[in-house]
């Protein structure tokens, strides 16, 4: 399974997926900054990462996915620093032979990230 992991302060720019002929499903998820946090209006979220540990924890999640589903590739970009309302803070792309495993792996990845990957947010008003 190929993986590509990016933690970046730059906007997330989509690029077309590279995939082999046997692949039939591409699931792409964008997490986008909402305009409220805890019921209060915000202008942005400032993301902080413990980068070395975040990379390691993402790799552990990728390894777990590879053991569970026949995923060909995962590309993940998570913003760090200030991300304005309506901008994507997270982009996940999962490529697999069929949609069931692509959706399941994507869901698993994001659920695990929210439990284990040391990234925190601070609302900016």
């Amino acid at each position: 399974m190929k993986t590509q992991l990016t933690l970046t302060p730059n906007p997330i720019n989509e690029t077309p997926p590279e995939m082999s002929d046997g692949m039939g499903a591409v699931v792409v998820f964008h997490g986008v900054v909402r305009d409220t946090e805890d019921g209060k209006s915000i202008r942005a979220i400032d993301y902080e990462a413990n980068e070395a540990m975040a990379r390691h924890q993402f790799e552990l999640i990728f390894d777990a996915i590879e053991k569970q589903w026949p995923v060909e590739s995962i590309r993940l970009v998570h913003r760090v620093g200030e991300v304005a309302v309506n901008e994507a803070s997270l982009r996940v792309e999962v490529i697999a032979p069929h949609r069931a495993e692509a959706f399941a792996a994507c869901q698993f990845l994001i659920d695990e990230m929210k439990l284990k990957v040391p990234i925190w947010k601070r609302a900016l008003h």
Partner: protein, 81 residues
């Protein structure tokens, strides 16, 4: 032995520092160091049960025995995405 303890997210605001160094005895555990840190920074005690603990890039349990030069991270629940 000496270990470094790094604080992340709002734990840094509570301690008003990025990190601290602690002298630890042979055989002392991550839980022991967490207790020492809470004694030094009482503001962290309220979050005792929700604090996540890592050594290097791996999460560890309180029973983990520390070595000289270890880098401990203490932080609140993560919020990526």
């Amino acid at each position: 032995m000496k270990v470094t303890v790094k604080f992340w997210s709002y734990f840094r605001d509570l301690t008003e520092c990025d990190e601290t160094s602690l002298e630890v005895n042979e055989g002392e555990t991550l839980g022991d160091v967490h207790s020492k840190v809470m004694a030094k920074f009482p503001e962290l005690a309220e979050m005792k049960n929700s604090t996540l603990k890592a050594v290097g890039v791996n999460y560890q349990m309180d029973e983990f025995v520390l070595s000289d030069g270890d880098e401990v991270s203490l932080f609140p629940p993560v919020q990526g995405g």
